[in-house]
Amino acid sequence: MNRKALLVAALALSLLLIGLFSFNGGLVALALPLLVYLGAALYFSPGEERLVARRALSDDRIRQSAGVTVSLTIVNPGEDLPEVLVEDKHLRGLEVTAGATRTFGALPKGGELTLQYTLAGVRGVYFFNYLRVTASDPFDLFNLSTWIDSPNRLTVKPESPALRKVRIRPPQTRGFAGPILARQSGSGVDFFGVREYQLGDPIRRLNWKVSARHPRDIFTNQFEQERLADVGIILDARAQTNMVVEGESIFEHSVHATAALADALLKDGNRVGLLVYGSGMESAFPGYGRIQHERILETLARTSPGHNYALERLDYLPTRFFPARSQIILVSPLVPEDTQVLLHLRGRGYAVAVVSPDLVHFEQRIARKASREDLAIRIANLERALLFQKLRRAGIQVVDWKTDESLPLAVHAAFGRVILRNTPAAAGTGTSGGRV
């Protein structure tokens, strides 16, 4: 019984009582249509609901820019329901781009009611659980509201600008042929060195100029082998390094950069692993190909910055996760305390690279600080430049990325020649790459 029923009942009762106490039969008669209306509503009021809901998604894994169509079908195997209001809950982070999340209709025995709408949203993993169904009599005076289980799961994968080639030079490569120069002689295209001729060497590899200078010996050209590499990407998800300014988080830029790097490196055939270092440590174990790509995007989709006192510094990086002397790429805005850990990794023989979204520029761009804070910004920029200089001196590649500029161009400047795809994301202007 809802408020409307109470209103009708109160009105009818008032007329009835006034009529009875004033001995006025006419007033009692005026209450009769209201009482009959109330009685009819009670007669048609819904009994027990036995509804079944089916939820179908057009795709359970979508990109951030794409939409997904949700189709809800409610079937009534029980008794007739004259009027039914179906409301699906709106999930935080998802936006309805077409249609509506509620509908109204009748559900006779064996009947169906269909609700369709399109959603789009930000990166994340979303769980659809319940929808609310409110059945009522034809006059909406007596309601019966229940929650129906209709589970489903949607993953919104992060967007990433397309990088075609990331040139890395890890000290150790894997045994399979690939695009990474292996620092070993063998079959390849890049000149590696010259050695004395050995029986079986092809004649076209003879270095005639060197051989001419040594009348008793013949020399052969050597080429550098090209192989696959092990690459470990570390995404810094510590709350203290990830800033949120006016609702925009620099962490989202880090996630997009990580997705772009993983995409490019996996396309080259490398074995790529991901470690998210934040409130805990989440990882996608190293692997190859499309499945690994999906695994990394899934991990990135559900990650968020968090705080953990034990993981405030990078000291507890699980280096065993990465094969010895492999390539490590850290995606982090960086704080000065991280320097020692990176130098330590470099000392242990890893090839280390850092992709660092510029925190100072990010805050300055969004918050548009007053001119009196210019000095503070200059000092912060100077500290950052010094930090990067220290890293570069230790042989660590650094990509100083201003988040409003193109990531492919920044990566190109730091890692070498990058062929850009003709995509809007790659069409940004300017470069902020550092020198190696």
Binding site: V36, L91, T103, F104, L113, T114, L115
Partner: protein
């Protein structure tokens, strides 16, 4: 929507019934006030203000009663009550139908799937069918109520005080049974909180969503 047209028709007839009831006794001020109430109600309906619409429905019914008490025709007052009830019900029903229409209108199927605002799924009841069923049931309820009221007005019975007291007692018992029945119905509604998943990420998880 046909229900919308009937709603405006009911409001117009209600205005006429009220005016006729008051003007038959030269109650010009009351007639003007009644017309103003109907006008305000029409505005509330146009602005989709449910609370004001409900309030003006109560006021309209009371105006019908006043028209009768001031010497107007009881049958006209009875018709006025029925018309006010019909207008109020149809206003709320139109708002419920709007939910369905909005859901159908805004959804554009993905490319490749033809535009079908009302999916032709087996067993799906169309808006038109829902509307006609509602109008039929409302018509029956109002007609039944008016006939019962008219019969009550036409038949004059004289009771002694003792019989009146017994009838009042009977009415009280009936009312109590009816309330008991309604309360029993309410208790069958499942408690909000059954089967709630704590992993829920919905926006109003802290609001009207059930909690364990």
């Amino acid at each position: 929507m046909i229900s919308r047209r009937i709603l405006w028709g009911c409001l117009g007839l209600l205005a006429l019934a009220n005016a006729a009831g008051f003007l038959s006794n030269q109650q010009w001020i009351w007639a003007g006030a009644g017309a103003a109430i109907i006008l305000l109600w029409a505005l509330a309906i146009l602005r989709k203000s449910a609370a004001i619409s409900s309030l003006l429905f109560v006021v309209s019914v009371l105006f019908c009663a006043v028209a009768y008490l001031l010497g107007g025709s009881p049958f006209l007052a009875l018709a006025g009550v029925g018309l006010a009830l019909a207008a109020w019900d149809l206003d709320r029903f139109s708002q419920r139908l709007e939910v369905r229409l909005a859901a159908s209108r805004q959804f554009t199927p993905p490319p490749g799937e033809g535009k079908d605002p009302e999916p032709a799924t087996t067993g799906t009841i169309s808006i038109r069918q829902v509307e006609m069923t509602h109008l039929r049931r409302l018509g029956m309820a109002l007609l039944g109520g008016w006939l019962l009221g008219a019969t009550a007005l036409a038949v004059r019975l004289h009771f002694s005080f003792v019989l009146m007291l017994m009838l009042a007692f009977l009415a009280f018992i009936t009312l109590r049974l009816a309330l008991g029945s309604i309360r029993g119905y309410v208790s069958t509604i499942p408690r909000q909180g059954e089967g709630y998943d704590s992993r829920d990420t919905s926006e109003d998880a802290a609001g009207d969503r059930p909690r364990e």
